[in-house]
Symmetry: C2
Subunit: 358 residues, 2 copies
């Protein structure tokens, strides 16, 4: 198990892309055998010279410090092709070769919504981001964002307040906090959700990282909600990526006198779904549910199905009867709801849905 981790770190540090990886595996058969090959051998796959050099002569200090970081029980390297690699992210163009994760890897497999927007939102925008995140996270959706100040931070906080899961995709190395003002938030996310980065440890917040990082936010998610954004805004990049990845784009409308509604209105004109309530989002996400890899196994779903009836049952009652935890239940129920098997009722109650007549 040791050699592969080192090999993945070497390849990740060399900025090897997933499409380049396949050529290297064709040459060497196994990832562990890639490292140690000569520069010229590696170059024969068409790999750029500087990447060949980085693989042939890796920086031992960088590799060692990454391996030291990985010794912590909540620190993970999630690599392309492994079971831990998020299914939705694997489907996007240009997926990352490996993800450094600080926190709960399972959070990357929950059905997720990205919530993004301005770093300088209005009070109303901040409150909307918080409230939508809270409502959707309490229903079992993970909330993905970029841990920037403003809308991003409000979305993470709303999800945490609901006791839900949130995922922060970073434009720095996983061991750095940017912006520094979000240090406490970063620690809470690591404890109760996940921080994710594809950059080597210690990477500074390079300007070009952020648009690239945005494809992780949208790529981990079934859709992206833009809460407030100026007409030219990084959030519109995330929205565009989301559309290109075949995911939903949602936008909150606002007053024509609010400059931070301009970006949202632009998206709506381009076809984004205009959203007034969190339920609007749940309705739309239904048809994307086929993409989901359930985090519970089939036996657990069968157990749950046994205790569901056509009369609404409270989630606490379902927990007692089935022996499943409330956390498990809320994400399983959401997935069943998105699949159209289950209907939710006020007060956290759920019922089996009548199948559609053929």
């Amino acid at each position: 198990m040791d050699n592969p981790v080192r090999a993945w770190l070497v390849l990740a540090h060399a900025h090897v892309r997933v499409n380049e990886l396949q050529n290297l595996l064709d040459l060497c058969g196994d990832i562990s055998d890639v490292v140690g090959r000569s520069h010229s051998k590696l170059a024969s796959t068409g790999l750029a010279a500087e990447k060949c050099a980085a693989i042939a002569s890796p920086d031992p200090k960088a590799i060692d410090s990454a391996r030291a970081w990985l010794e912590h029980e909540r620190h993970h390297l999630v690599t392309w092709g492994s079971d831990d690699y998020p299914e939705l992210l694997s489907q996007v163009p240009g997926p990352p070769l490996a993800l450094y994760v600080n926190g709960d890897v399972d959070a990357l497999h929950l059905p997720a919504l990205a919530i993004v927007g301005s770093r300088n939102p209005t009070q109303g925008g901040r409150r909307n981001a918080h409230d939508f995140a809270r409502h959707l996270a309490s229903g079992g959706l993970a909330i993905a964002s970029g841990m920037a100040q403003g809308i991003d931070a409000a979305a993470h906080e709303g999800a945490l307040e609901a006791g839900g899961k949130t995922v922060a995709c970073l434009g720095t190395g996983i061991d750095r906090v940017y912006p520094p003002a979000n240090r406490a938030l970063a620690h809470t996310i690591a404890e109760r959700g996940a921080l994710v980065s594809e950059y080597p440890l210690g990477s500074p917040p390079e300007k070009w990282h952020f648009p690239e990082r945005n494809r992780l936010i949208s790529g981990l998610s079934l859709g992206t909600l833009v809460v407030e954004a100026a007409r030219r805004s990084g959030s519109l990049i995330t929205a565009r990526l989301s559309a290109e990845q075949g995911r939903e784009v949602f936008a909150l409308p606002g007053s024509i006198h609010n400059a931070l509604s301009r970006g949202c209105h632009k998206l709506i004109r381009q076809g984004a779904k205009l959203v007034e309530t969190a339920d609007d989002i749940l309705t739309e996400l239904g048809h994307l549910a086929g993409h989901l890899r359930p985090s519970a196994d089939d036996a657990e779903y069968e157990t749950l199905r046994k205790f569901l009836s056509h009369d609404p049952v409270g989630i606490d009652e379902l927990g007692k009867q089935s022996g499943l935890t409330i956390d498990q239940l809320s994400s399983m129920l959401l997935i069943l709801e998105l699949h159209g098997e289950v209907e939710s009722f006020p007060g956290g109650r759920y019922a089996k849905k009548e199948p559609l007549q053929a």
Copy 2:
């Protein structure tokens, strides 16, 4: 000239529809010859019994009072097929047989935008209606609305404040003001624009008149702007009619916490154009300009074209040079702008536009 007016009044009072009129003309040859025909002869065209009765035995008092009303120089009966009948309105399904007009008949031939919305708007909604109407009316568009309280009244007032034209379509007889609170506004509109009704004099504000009246508001207009409207609102009927008439539908977005934005958001989801500025509307109306019947004649357009150059010229200067009034010029210039012949510049200046390269 006398007999036809009486005949049109008899037919209008009998609620004869435009499609029924053609059958009557096929039978009788001339409108004046319709009145006086026997009930059974009229019925042979398929006309309903009560309409035949109303034509065969018209109420002389009602006809006389309408003829007395028409003696005022600003009171008109605009009948189907006449030159005064608005071209745009003639294109809609179920056009009115005749219009009672109090004011300026020419106002019905200007390129118009309908502005409608809630009777109980927010302050912001009222201000938006007023400001959009003022801006667009000062550019030469007539503003059509329904003279209800709230958004309708604010739109009429904005147009009047700009010294522009406004048209109020009534759900009562032309001689009645509804709601009574808008009495002063009705008088100003009659003096400087036009009041329009298809109902006989004295008709009360029947509930069913208003949805029917809405087709006049949208039918006289190139498009309809909904400023604020609840999810279920008469304004949405006007918007739907506008779409069915092949005209544009525009809606102002607003906060998700404003219940009066719900109707607008519903329209945007159904395909209405999301509008942030008055210029958004002018841009969209461009391609509908082909429907317009210029209110000035060709010779006047030729005169104007002579004084336009590729350097912007002020409208006052154009007035001095061409001998055309500022009123004439502003509507002619708007039409040329919508046709793509003219470009407008800040400060009321206009220039000939370069023709597109073939």
